[in-house]
Amino acid sequence: MSIEVRAVSKRFGRYRALDGVSLGIEGGELVALLGPSGSGKTSLLRIIAGLEVPDAGSVLFSGRDATGEAPRDRGVGFVFQHYALFRHATVFENVAFGLRVLRRRDRPTEARIAERVHELLSLVQLDGMAGRAPAELSGGQRQRVALARALAVEPRVLLLDEPFGALDAKVRKGLRRWLRRLHDDLAVTSVFVTHDQEEALEVADRVVVMNEGRIEQIGTPDEVYRSPATAFVVEFLGQANVLHGRVDRGRARFGAIAVDAPEHLGALDAPAIGYVRPHDLELARDCAAGPALAATVREVRPLGPIVRVQMQEDATGAALEAEVSRHELEALGLAEGQRVFARPRRWQVFARPDVR
């Protein structure tokens, strides 16, 4: 089922949670709502679920206006951040809940309910846990019970609020790959909220980057990472070196380096900010390869497979950070206090009006 959000706004008292948000989600897609806390991503998810009513705008499911519909009529499954399992009920009864509250004529027989619950528990790899109480399960197991419970009513849309937020790093990684496979098997439209960019980039078909109640960018993980639309997206999606310079008629200049900035053809000698990811900064002992930023090495820190090199630019005193492979480092023979030349491979240039 496709979802369309049209110009949705929502306020909580004086706080503006969502400000004219529009978003289209195709049937069968897995979409991540990514943003810092307070960006409105959870409010948007709750509005799609019907747990919150928007002040303005509408929500459509497969073209049908569902804005005024109660959550129970929308056919959505919702997985809560803290699982919200029924603490007084066993795992079995938690999963069976959605079937037991069906109207009498739609309600399956007791045998059918048991069969369905065991199917779901085996789907989420919790066979044999049916008799446990939620408090006897680990965080990852609770999360999977919550998922099985939401899937029991065969929702056409699955909504997950920070599904891995309360889990530790290792469980989290395993579970999100598993969720991706599950989504592919079930072919249900899924939307999940996260503040973890790595999670969004790894799991989702498309990522919706949100900030202060607005959408900054919608795109595939590769698009938002490689062609960020705004400075916010660059900064939120990972580490970046910030360089200050000027842009003039489509040409940006940062110290010794000049780069094309075709999106700023109209800019006339305007202040500009350039972003370079640490792994896009190429290091050399001389500037034979072309114009580069001269810098002094301040720290060389190996981090597993890569090495992080902290530098200080000679001209401006600005801090620079590069990530190189161990192999490159050995070839360069870098040590603290040495002179290096840093040449950016990829840039993101934003003229002042875009810059926050």
């Binding site: 129970r72 029924f86 007084h88 509250v101 530790d168």
Partner: protein, 293 residues
């Protein structure tokens, strides 16, 4: 996942052990504190309780039982039980509604409503009784109109029920509000997204969540309703065999120098108090274990 669970559980186990070794070596100060607490309890709780039963049985079991089997005593017991049977369900209904509203919704005047619920605790029961006399008495605001309809409130059973309900009004709500606030809304929201109606959500999710707190509130409310003296005393008119509840009957018997009778009825009240205490500690021991493990 598994190994982490085990280490976490392991860490939890070592902690209480350490606490136990601390508790196993009581210092003189601990002994002193225990002695003070024990003698205080003995003097103010155990001794009076023993005295009540001793007085009741001063002339043997026979006279005590005869005093209880007396018509007027039986009528007082009936009236008390009836009052409890009306006041407790009323306050359960009210307490559920009020705590649901207060814990689940934001509205203006909420803190005012909370303090209003506490009013019966802060007002002297005698004043509460007087309020009902002023409202429903022969010269009261509503009394004459109701009397025209043939309904007597003050110095009759309705007045006793009203006064008791008023005095025990906060007990269920007070028990439920903090519980429901602490438990939050997420389980109810989950139930709604799973297709449950409002009533199904209440019956299948909210009620099981609060059942121990509710039961606790009901027991406190029933105990208080049985023992209420002040407010009921003002509105009852002390008509023997008609508007006498158990506490009022104890007073009448005592004033009439029928000590065996007075203490026999009093020991019935004391027994219900002990039963309440037992039920309360049973719930406290059982409730949390059920909801956590």
């Amino acid at each position: 996942m598994g190994s982490q669970g085990r280490t976490r559980r392991g860490a939890v186990v070592t902690d209480p052990e350490r606490r136990e070794t601390l508790a196993r070596t009581p210092s003189p100060v601990a002994w002193l504190l225990v002695a003070i607490a024990a003698s205080f309890l003995g003097l103010f709780l155990v001794l009076p309780l023993v005295a009540v039963f001793a007085q009741a049985l001063a002339k043997g079991l026979g006279p005590a039982l005869a005093a209880i089997a007396d018509d007027e005593t039986l009528s007082a017991i009936r009236l008390t039980l009836m009052t409890v049977a009306i006041a407790v369900p009323l306050n359960v209904g009210f307490g559920l509604a009020a705590s649901w509203a207060i814990a689940k919704f934001e509205f203006c005047g909420k803190s005012f409503l909370v303090s209003l619920i506490d009013l019966p605790f802060s007002v002297s029961p005698v004043v509460a009784g007087l309020v009902f006399v002023l409202l429903f008495g022969a010269r009261g605001l509503l009394g004459p109109a109701l009397a025209d309809q043939g309904l007597q409130v003050v110095f009759a059973v309705p007045g006793i029920v009203l006064a008791t309900t008023f005095v025990t009004f906060p007990l269920v709500a007070r028990e439920l509000i903090p519980l429901m606030q602490a438990q939050g809304n997420e389980e109810e929201e989950a139930a709604i997204t799973l297709g449950a109606s409002g009533w199904q959500t209440f019956r299948r999710v909210t009620l099981p969540k609060i059942r121990w707190g509710l039961l606790y509130g009901v027991i406190l409310c029933a105990a208080r309703a049985m023992g209420e003296f002040g407010a009921v005393s003002v509105v009852s008119g002390h008509v023997r065999g008609e508007t006498n509840t158990m506490p009022l009957h104890v007073e009448i018997l005592y004033d009439g120098y029928d000590f065996v009778g007075a203490f026999a009825v009093a020991s019935l009240l004391a027994l219900t108090a002990l039963a309440t205490l037992g039920a309360k500690s049973w719930i406290e021991a059982r409730g949390p274990r059920r909801s956590v493990a």
